[in-house]
Symmetry: C2
Subunit: 170 residues, 2 copies
């Protein structure tokens, strides 16, 4: 996501703003700050998961399956919910099946479909990973109390509403 380590100082931003008067210095630095912290969080999460032999993509698949009443779903539904293409989901399921965490069950009603089922090993993997993830996350967010969390979410929503500005065609 935001790889850049060397975020621009105010001086650098001022220099750029001279050449490009559209620049809103505080908007830029707030934006970069947000991306920087979110990226570092994501990297930290990956590091935590990889100690358990997982990465975000595969971990989310297991969680999505555990959310299901009957612990199964289809590749296309999983792809939709996980926000990846079906092609990517095929690859994620391949890896999880290889490790025995999910299994493919062929649907006799509609032979195009495959059901993906969380195995006992998959459930037990989650029972190891989730307490670790939850307790680390609790600690990470501890400095932010409830009202601050609400404020943060409200500000994130304001920014979120502005995202279409990046896509306007004009």
């Amino acid at each position: 996501m935001l790889q850049l380590r060397d975020l621009p100082s105010t001086e650098v931003l001022k220099k750029f703003a001279q050449r490009y008067p559209q620049a809103d210095i505080s908007a830029i630095s707030t934006f970069l700050h947000l991306l920087r912290v979110a990226t570092d969080l994501s990297v930290a999460l990956d590091a935590c998961l990889s100690k358990h032999g997982l990465l975000q993509g595969r971990w989310w698949v297991l969680i999505l399956l555990m959310r299901e009443e009957a612990l199964h779903s289809t590749p296309s539904a999983l792809a939709e919910k996980a926000g990846v293409t079906r092609a990517t989901m095929t690859g994620l399921i391949d890896g999880l099946e290889r490790d025995g965490l999910v299994e493919r069950v062929f649907d006799s009603g509609d032979r195009r479909r495959v059901l993906i089922r969380l195995t006992a090993a998959g459930q037990s993997k989650l029972d190891t990973v989730m307490p670790d993830y939850y307790s680390r996350l609790r600690e990470c967010m501890a400095a932010l109390k409830e009202p601050q969390r609400k404020t943060l979410c409200a500000m994130l929503d304001l920014i979120n509403n502005g995202i279409p500005a990046f896509g306007r065609t004009e």
Copy 2:
């Protein structure tokens, strides 16, 4: 970064919290909210840059070069600042050189080193991209006024300080 589209509802989180008592429901949803908005911002930025034939990695290299007084730097310094490995930087420079936006100049003093220089075409590419990026970003962040931006950054710093919790060996 956070691909997941189907963020957990409070009901789902409560169900998970029954099995995993470490879960702090508001911490989890705030965390996911932050990652979701940041990811969508990053995707929107990529979409904006790709209209100009760039992606974040290559774009940051051009910006880092433009920050330099003499418009040049070395692959290893660029890799450090851009937060990618030298191997990745080699690839980014290859692409930029192919498009004529930067050039490699061999250093006669230390023959291990190569200088990467922003070309006129590279500068002119930035002169097209930056005003577009800056004006879209200004608009995207417009709903957040100065004091809110400061508050947001302060909260991001609190979260940032908690990130080591994800890495503790315990």
